[in-house]
């Protein structure tokens, strides 16, 4: 299967800190690739570098055949990448509706697609005209997801979507991601929760110290407690 996104030897500096040390990663089209690793391994920096929010100091990033590492963030977004940041970054002074109006770059929102989103996230319909700043943490994450899904994107970058959320909300997000996957979306997803990663991921890249130290099928990593312990310092069995 051809890779939609390819990172080759990507290095990123933030100020005087050298964060990414030659990241090699391929994200195949139509698959969900999980990016795992300990805190500080460089997962969020990798997503932000792909989005152009931090500039790659060396290496290549390709979306399909197009090199994007030198493009400005708006151009990268317009090339077809949707981004759900770790902080959710909803516009709290804007209503739920206004947040989605901005995310629908091409103009009017597609009613069918909106209904589909409401099907997964009913609170967004309920609080359509409420300010996003008044939503709970889980509802803000739903809005952040909805912003990424309101239009068709070639690739979705999602950073730790389940962090700090209640189990019921996590369940809804997983259901939504599974449906998005079923529709053929390509996703690169950073996740600390290994159980969630196992449930959603087709492929996995494990990062440590600014590099991808393992890549392969998610199922293989999930089945190999020794490898999990080696790469992530955990075993799924201990989390049963």
């Amino acid at each position: 299967m051809s890779a939609l996104l390819t990172l080759s030897g990507v290095e990123t500096h933030i100020g005087r800190y050298h964060i990414l040390h030659g990241v090699e990663l391929a994200v195949p089209e139509g698959q969900t690739t999980m990016l795992l690793g300990r805190n500080g391994a460089g997962k969020t920096t990798t997503l932000r570098t792909i989005m152009g929010l931090w500039r790659a100091s060396r290496g290549e990033i390709r979306l399909g055949e197009t090199r994007i590492e030198a493009l400005a963030t708006p151009d990268i977004a317009r090339a077809g990448i949707g981004y759900v940041p770790e902080t959710m970054a909803v516009f709290s002074d804007l209503t739920v509706r206004e947040n989605l109006v901005l995310a629908a770059r091409e103009g009017a929102m597609d009613e069918k697609r909106l209904d589909w989103i409401f099907g997964f996230f009913p609170p967004l319909k309920k609080f359509w005209l409420s300010r996003a700043g008044t939503l709970s943490g889980g509802q803000k994450q739903m809005l952040s997801f909805a912003r990424a899904f309101i239009e068709e994107r070639k690739l979705l970058l999602i950073d730790e979507p389940t962090k700090g959320l209640a189990p019921a909300i996590i369940g809804a997000l997983i259901d939504c991601l599974k449906e998005v996957k079923r529709r053929g979306a390509t996703i690169l997803l950073v996740e600390q929760n290994f159980r969630v990663a196992q449930e959603i991921g087709d492929l996995v890249g494990v990062m440590d110290n600014g590099r991808v130290v393992h890549s392969g099928a998610m199922a293989e990593l999930a089945a190999d407690a020794g490898l999990q312990h080696l790469l992530l310092g955990l075993s799924l069995d201990t989390h049963q």
């Binding site: 929010l53 963030t73 516009f91 901005l102 809804a172």
Partner: protein
């Protein structure tokens, strides 16, 4: 219960509390001053004068608050655009003295409207140049912004001195805006009513643009999180330039109105007004147009009442007001940006 059921059963969202207290402050201030002023006609005159002055300060300050909120730029050069706007009106109106002195309101408007348009256009274009040449290299560096924009302000002021001289230059009101209405025993100057109307039009237009248009949504979103606006695919730098130009043009409009109000202009007027403009922006809450509007009215009303009741107190009214507001709300009346 499935995950979806749990989501459906989400508790009702608490109603967003509408913060009306700051909106009531100018009214409360005006009513509080009433018992201390000997006659109601004097109170009406002072209040209308305060509202007019507040509207002019709002027009000058509104651009600055948006520039800070959206671009995180401390523009101490904003005062230069106020002065330049006023001088542009002098230049345009100089050959149109006959129309200004005519008894026809249409001839008066035929002189004043082009002066306003030219002042706003010139300050918008100069704002574009200022943003590209002076501001762009120091985005994100507040100390350098203060130094370089203050330097820009001084340079602009000195250029005005060199071109027009240090003396006060007359900018007379057109005939039809001179004089006053009599309502009961209160005399209300016509020009002050015009200032109130223009200020309201600018305020309501800004609210409409910010709340009803896509550009307005982008500005409001950009004030909160420029990075996420870019990640959604919008080129925020274009918006920056547009807002900077609009803010400079509003300063130019404010300069024309202030010059006509004082019926004279001088090169130092921008610098003198800048302190007041910054106080209003801080009182209102950085980035908030509504806060800026309320702050301008509060400052102008308080200065007018204090000037009448205890003239010496008027010298510190605006600073005292700012201290009081910040003690009550440290981020201003309606803070928008978390910076």
């Amino acid at each position: 219960m499935s995950a979806q059921d749990s989501i459906d059963a989400v508790a009702a969202l608490p109603k967003a509390r509408r913060d009306l207290i700051p909106l009531l402050l100018p009214v409360a201030l005006a009513l509080a001053a009433l018992p201390f002023i000997p006659s109601s006609s004097t109170w009406v005159t002072l209040t209308i004068a305060g509202l007019a002055m507040g509207m002019m300060i709002f027009i000058m300050a509104s651009g600055l608050t948006l520039i800070f909120g959206l671009m995180d730029v401390l523009n101490f050069g904003h005062g230069a655009f106020i002065a330049i706007g006023a001088y542009m009106a002098v230049l345009v109106l100089a050959p149109l003295g006959g129309w200004m002195q005519a008894d026809s309101i249409w001839l008066n408007l035929a002189a004043v409207i082009p002066a306003v348009i030219v002042a706003m256009a010139v300050t918008a274009v100069l704002g574009l140049a200022f943003e590209r040449v002076v501001i762009a290299p120091v985005y994100g560096q507040h100390l350098k912004q203060i130094l370089i924009t203050m330097g820009g302000m001084i340079v602009a002021e000195q250029i005005l001195y060199a071109l027009f001289g240090p003396q006060q230059i007359p900018l007379p009101l057109p005939t039809s805006l001179r004089g006053s209405f009599q309502i009961g025993e209160a005399a209300i100057e016509k020009y002050r009513v015009v200032c109130v109307l223009v200020g309201l039009v600018v305020f309501l237009s800004m609210l409409a643009i910010l709340n009803r248009t896509r550009i307005g949504l982008l500005i409001r979103a950009g004030v909160e999180n420029t990075e996420m606006v870019e990640a959604l695919g919008y080129r925020i730098t274009r918006l920056f330039v547009g807002v900077f130009m609009a803010g400079s043009a509003l300063a130019g409009l404010g300069g024309v109105m202030w010059g006509l109000y004082r019926e004279q202009v001088n090169a130092a007027m921008g610098g003198e007004l800048l302190v007041l403009v910054f106080i209003v922006v801080i009182i209102g809450g950085l980035g908030s147009v509504t806060g800026c509007f309320i702050g301008a009215l509060l400052v102008a009303l308080a200065t007018n009442y204090a000037g009448f009741l205890v003239p010496k107190l008027a010298l510190i009214t605006d600073i005292a007001l700012m201290v009081a507001v910040l003690l009550w709300r440290p981020r201003g009346l309606y803070p928008v940006t978390s910076r």
